[in-house]
C-alpha cells in the first residue's frame, strides 16, 4: 500500500464511485449492497453487484458476477484460455467492500492484477482481515505459481458502510426468521 499519486487517486475514487453506484443498484433490488467494476486500460469493461437473494445462491457476489460477465464476453470474442489469462492480468477491480475469502481466492485464480476496496470486511475478508489470499505465494502450488495481487483498502469506505447501514436498518428480507442465534464457540 504505497502512496498514491494525486491523479491516480482521483481516478481511483472515480472508479470507486461507479462501484458504489452498482452497490446502490443492489440495494434497490433488496440485495446486500456491494458493487464493483473491473477496469482495463482506465476503461470500465465489466460491472457487477450482489445477486444472492434473487438467485438464492449465496455465492453470487458482485465480484463473481463481474468475472462471469467478462468470461462470457471474452469467449464470445473467441479468446483462448491463455489470451484470457493475459487480459485478466491487466485488470483492476474496484469493489465497495473487501472481497470475502471466496472472492479473494477467485480473484487470485483468475490472476487479477490489482484490487481497490472500500470498507474492510472483518467477518469474512480474504484480503487481510481474516485470511490474506492476495498474498498467495507459490508454496501453495507446485505446478503453477499461485498468483497474488496488490490490494489497497479504504477507498470511499464511509460511503460503502452507510449503504450497509441502510440495508440492515431495513432488515434483510430473505434472511431466515426468526434469526438463528449465532453459534457460541
Amino acid at each position: 500500500m504505497g502512496s498514491i499519486e494525486s491523479e491516480d487517486s482521483c481516478s481511483t475514487s472515480a472508479f470507486m464511485e461507479l462501484a458504489i453506484q452498482e452497490a446502490k443498484n443492489a440495494l434497490e433490488r433488496l440485495e446486500v449492497p456491494v458493487g464493483c467494476v473491473i477496469v482495463e486500460n482506465k476503461k470500465v469493461i465489466a460491472s457487477g453487484s450482489n445477486r444472492t437473494n434473487e438467485t438464492r445462491n449465496a455465492t453470487r457476489h458482485a465480484e463473481m458476477e463481474a468475472i462471469d460477465s467478462l468470461l462470457q464476453q471474452w469467449q464470445q470474442d473467441g479468446l483462448s484460455q491463455s489470451d484470457l489469462a493475459k487480459r485478466f492480468s491487466k485488470c483492476v477491480l474496484y469493489v465497495t467492500c473487501e472481497p470475502c475469502i471466496m472472492c479473494a481466492a477467485a480473484l487470485s485464480y483468475v490472476g487479477i492484477k490489482e484490487v481497490y476496496y472500500g470498507c474492510a470486511n472483518d467477518k469474512f475478508g480474504g484480503c487481510g482481515s481474516i485470511l490474506s489470499l492476495h498474498n498467495t505465494s507459490s508454496e501453495y502450488s507446485n505446478l503453477v505459481e499461485g498468483k497474488g495481487y496488490k490490494c489497497t483498502g479504504g477507498i470511499l469506505a464511509s460511503e460503502a458502510v452507510s449503504l450497509f447501514q441502510t440495508f440492515y436498518e431495513r432488515g434483510n428480507p430473505k434472511a431466515p426468521k426468526p434469526h438463528r442465534t449465532v453459534v457460541q464457540s
Binding site: 433488496l30 444472492t52 460477465s69 468470461l71 491463455s82 485470511l131
Partner: protein
C-alpha cells in the same frame, strides 16, 4: 432418488471392490489437534495485584485491553503463595516482536504507574480447550474456561453403523462421478438432504467444458449417473481405482484437471476445438453443485408474491449465470415496503422452503480449496465429507482451516472419509450392499 432404493444396486455393479469396513470417518476439527501437554500458547503481560483492587482493575482492563481472541482465558488467576491467596491479572498480549513494555497502549502504561503494578510475562493457551483433558492441562499455565463443543450436529462424536453406511455409500457415489467423465479425473460434489436421505443435486468440475444449454440439471445428474454405470460396466474389474493419496492407480488418468488441487492452472489448458461449450476457471465442482441446488430451490419453491414474469426470468437465468446484470429488472418497489410481511410467504409456502443449503451435507472427492470452502460457508452447508486431502490448496485443514475461523457467521463440521490400504486390492461382494 433415495440411495437405499436406487443407488445401491448400481454401486454394486460399478465397483465391487469398495469395502465399507476399510473406510473410516475422521473428524477434522476447527483447530489442529495437539496432545494436551503440547497445546500452543501465547505470551501475555500479567501482574500481581492487591485483591481489593481486583474489580476495579478488571473493569478498566476489559475496557482498555479486551482479550478479544482469548475469550476462553480467565482474566484473573488465583494462586496460593505461602498460605496466602494471591491474585494476578492479565494486562494484555505481548508485542509480536518481543516483550518490551513500551509496546503497550498508553492507557495501560498509565494504569501500571497509577496502581504500581509490576508486569511479568507468562504463557496462556491460545485455543479454547475442546476436551476435559486439554482444559486440565491449560489450567496449569493459567486458568481457562471450558465449554464442551457446542456444535449442535449429530454424529460429530461418532457415527452409528447405519449412519456410517450411508456416508460410505454417498462417498462411493461421488468417487464414481469424479472418475466417470473420461480418463481425466475431476473433483465431484453431491449435496444431500440427510433428513430424508435424498440427493439434492450433484456436480463435477466444469472448468474446461461447460455446457450452457443445460436446461434441467436434474436430468443431467441422472444422466451422469447412467454414464458412470456404463463406464464402470464396460471397464469391468479394471475400473479406475484410487490409491491412498487420492491419485489414480491407473497412470493414464491425470489429476492435473482437478479444480481444487490446481486452481491456478486453467490458463495452461490446451485450446479447445469445440465452440459449443464455454469453459470457466471458477466452475469447481462445489460451485457447480451449489448453483444447481439454488436453481432447484427456485424451481421447486417459487416465491409467492413474485410475478410469473419474474419467475420466468429467474428460470431463464438458470442456464447461464453469466447473464448481463445491467439488463436486470428492478424489483417492484411495492414489495420493498412489505418486508415485514415477508414471513407470511414462508408460512403459506408448503412444503417448507429450504434456506440455502441449511441442514444439507456435501460430499466431495477432494478437500475443497479456499474459494469452494468459503462458498460452502455462504451456502450454509451443515457437514462436509471429503475423501482425499488437498495439500496444495485445501482450505479445510491442509493449507487453511476455515471451519476454525471464529469470525465466520456459519460453521460446518468437516470429515475426511479415509480409504485404507486393503481398499485398493480387496475384491469382494460384501460391504456395500447388504
Amino acid at each position: 432418488m433415495t440411495l437405499k432404493k436406487g443407488l445401491k444396486s448400481k454401486v454394486l455393479i460399478l465397483d465391487v471392490r469398495m469395502v465399507n469396513s476399510n473406510w473410516e470417518i475422521i473428524h477434522i476439527p476447527g483447530k489442529p489437534s495437539y496432545p494436551p501437554t503440547q497445546q500452543p500458547t501465547v505470551s501475555v503481560f500479567a501482574s500481581v495485584i492487591d485483591p481489593k483492587l481486583a474489580n476495579t482493575l478488571v473493569r478498566k482492563l476489559n475496557n482498555i485491553a479486551p482479550l478479544e481472541n482469548l475469550r476462553h482465558v480467565k482474566r484473573v488467576r488465583k494462586s496460593c503463595v505461602d498460605g496466602k491467596t494471591q491474585l494476578s491479572v492479565i494486562l494484555c498480549l505481548t508485542d509480536e516482536n518481543g516483550t518490551d513494555l513500551d509496546s503497550m497502549a498508553i492507557e495501560l502504561l498509565e494504569l501500571i504507574t497509577c496502581y504500581q503494578l509490576s508486569p511479568f510475562v507468562t504463557q496462556v493457551c491460545k485455543y479454547a480447550a475442546t476436551t476435559k483433558e486439554e482444559w486440565e492441562e491449560q489450567g496449569k499455565l493459567w486458568p481457562t474456561s471450558f465449554h464442551p463443543p457446542t456444535y449442535n450436529i449429530d454424529g460429530i462424536t461418532g457415527f452409528s453403523e447405519e449412519d456410517s453406511k450411508v456416508v460410505f455409500d454417498y462417498m462411493n457415489f461421488v468417487l464414481k462421478l469424479a472418475k466417470s467423465a473420461s480418463c481425466q479425473l475431476v473433483n465431484a460434489a453431491v449435496i444431500v438432504d440427510p433428513s430424508v436421505n435424498q440427493i439434492i443435486t450433484s456436480g463435477c468440475d466444469e472448468i474446461s467444458s461447460w455446457n450452457v444449454n443445460l436446461d434441467d440439471n436434474e436430468v443431467r445428474s441422472l444422466g451422469t449417473d447412467e454414464a458412470s454405470i456404463c463406464h464402470g460396466v464396460a471397464n469391468g474389474s479394471s475400473s479406475l481405482m484410487f490409491n491412498l493419496d487420492g491419485l489414480p492407480d491407473d497412470p493414464r488418468a491425470s489429476c492435473s484437471r482437478i479444480s481444487c488441487l490446481n486452481p491456478w492452472q486453467w490458463s495452461l489448458s490446451p485450446p479447445l476445438s469445440s465452440t459449443s461449450c464455454f469453459w470457466h476457471p471458477l466452475r469447481h465442482a462445489a460451485m457447480v453443485a451449489i448453483e444447481y441446488s439454488s436453481s432447484r430451490d427456485r424451481r421447486l419453491y417459487p416465491s409467492i408474491g413474485e410475478t410469473d414474469e419474474r419467475s420466468t426470468q429467474l428460470d431463464s437465468n438458470v442456464t447461464s449465470t453469466v447473464g448481463f446484470p445491467a439488463k436486470r429488472q428492478k424489483t417492484n418497489l411495492t414489495n420493498v415496503n412489505n418486508t415485514d410481511d415477508a414471513p407470511a410467504d414462508r408460512v403459506l409456502s408448503k412444503p417448507e422452503r429450504p434456506y440455502l443449503c441449511t441442514g444439507y451435507d456435501i460430499y466431495l472427492a477432494w478437500e475443497p480449496c479456499a474459494m469452494c470452502a468459503m462458498a460452502l460457508v455462504h451456502q450454509r452447508v451443515r457437514r462436509i465429507f471429503y475423501a482425499f486431502p488437498n495439500p496444495n490448496a485445501g482450505a479445510l485443514g491442509s493449507v487453511y482451516r476455515l471451519q476454525g475461523e471464529k469470525s465466520l457467521n456459519h460453521h460446518y463440521a468437516v470429515f475426511q472419509v479415509k480409504l485404507h490400504d486393503e481398499e485398493s486390492t480387496a475384491v469382494t461382494n460384501d460391504g456395500i450392499v447388504k
